[in-house]
Amino acid sequence: MKVLVPVKRVIDYNVKARVKADQTGVDLANVKMSMNPFCEIAVEEAVRLKEKGAATEVVIVSIGPAQAQETIRTALAMGGDRGILITSDADLEPLAVAKLLKAVVAEEQPGLVLMGKQAIDGDNNAVGQMLSALLDWPQATYASAIELSGSSAKVTREVDGGLQTLDVDLPAVVTADLRLNEPRYASLPNIMKAKKKEIAQKTVADYGVDVAPRLTVVKVTEPPKRSAGIKVESAADLVSKLTTAGVL
């Protein structure tokens, strides 16, 4: 079974995003970029499925600027087999991304799409669910465990208040949550090997999909700042301050 793993190049999760002075967006010039952490978890899971013999091929796809090629290489160094880069100068909305991925699915015919639950830039948490809806495939989001058995997958999900296990027919869309696995670091030999792996070069126009934005960004601003308060000397001092503040 082929597994398709969409990945996104985003601001590194240890970097604090800064809003541009002209309020048009977040300043990404000279900022460290990395693979979205949830995408990394999805890549790791797909590679583990292949190592267990449950998957035969892991195809990585990324939509973004030319530099997203590096993100695909990282995924190939972790164990992906080949990549597809769909270049786009515009930052596409989840609906457009879901439509493009639907077109990729039509070409690649994977048995499973495994992707991160959310990108840490737009924080939408939407593409996996939307792709599943457009394909009329079942979905299992926020996965903390995946077990493939023939024509279906048993997925344990992180839900409000605990865990839920679903059994979904394949093909399906599964999105990864934090506790699914701990992604590996690529070894130097695997990084070298990844340089020789194939990455197909595409553009958004190749797929004939309407990616026009539906939302206009009016402005991007800094959230109200919270300033540091005071240091208290002791636990007793703290309790008296909290009592005065009326929050106890």
């Binding site: 240890n14 924080d123 027919d169 002791s234 636990a235 703290l238 503040a245």
Partner: protein, 313 residues
Amino acid sequence: MAVLVIADNDNAHLRDGTNKTVTAALKLSGDVDVLVLGKGAAAVADAAAKIAGVRKVLLAESDALGHGIAEAQAEAALALAGDYDAILVPATAGGKNFAPRIAAKLDVAPISDIVEVVSADTFVRPIYAGNALETVQSSDAKKVITVRPTAFAAAADGGSAAVETVSGADAAKTRFVSEEMVKSDRPELAAAKIVVSGGRAMGSAEEFQAVIEPLADKLGAAVGASRAAVDAGYAPNDYQVGQTGKVVAPQLYIAVGISGAIQHLAGMKDSKVIVAINKDADAPIFQVADYGLVADYKSAVPELMSALTAAGK
């Protein structure tokens, strides 16, 4: 313009996020209906009918809806979508699970996790873990929006809307297998007035339980944890406060042994009063804390417990 709010519920209880989403909906329109999806959820529909400002309540039931299967939830909502200009869903794990499906099927852009309604087509939402606020204007005729509950006050009771039954929906390719819910007498994390959270400094799950939980119980608080503590296995994922976990805004947030990584601050910085207990005076958590106590939690928490007892808590 009519708005449909989809209720957050567990088949037995209406959750508070619904009332908060109704508040957001009433900023868009005076014609607000509530759709309850579940199984054996008549009591939930009756509770929703009491929310002031609600025009009518629609109740759709099936096994799949009772288990919160997204495919069925989206289908049940889509059957009604023709009558509404906007569909609003609380931005809980459950709501975020199905709302984007509705948007995809309607061919509209979902607007996720809004914290402010600027006008009927313009909304504010946090991006980059809350480090920026984006104001977006939608050009779609029909809008699908998830609403961050902590950003809106809960609509009070006082209504008496009629409850109408509408058709349920099933999911042919998805089967419910089992669920394992954390049982707790503590308040729900997202709705609690006081939250006590522990971080990686706890060092073990046993220590987390021995330190954080008694303090929470003394204060009648919910228990939270940093992602680092969850990652290390000291606390269940359900406790996680932060960008990738739950966003909370209680009256009082007490962070114990939490350094204050960006991703944690994103989940709690809207709390009314923040207390930080950490032995590292340079920990970033002190930059957002109203009251900071620089001390090892091992001595500070027991002292805090006695000080609370002395103060009659």
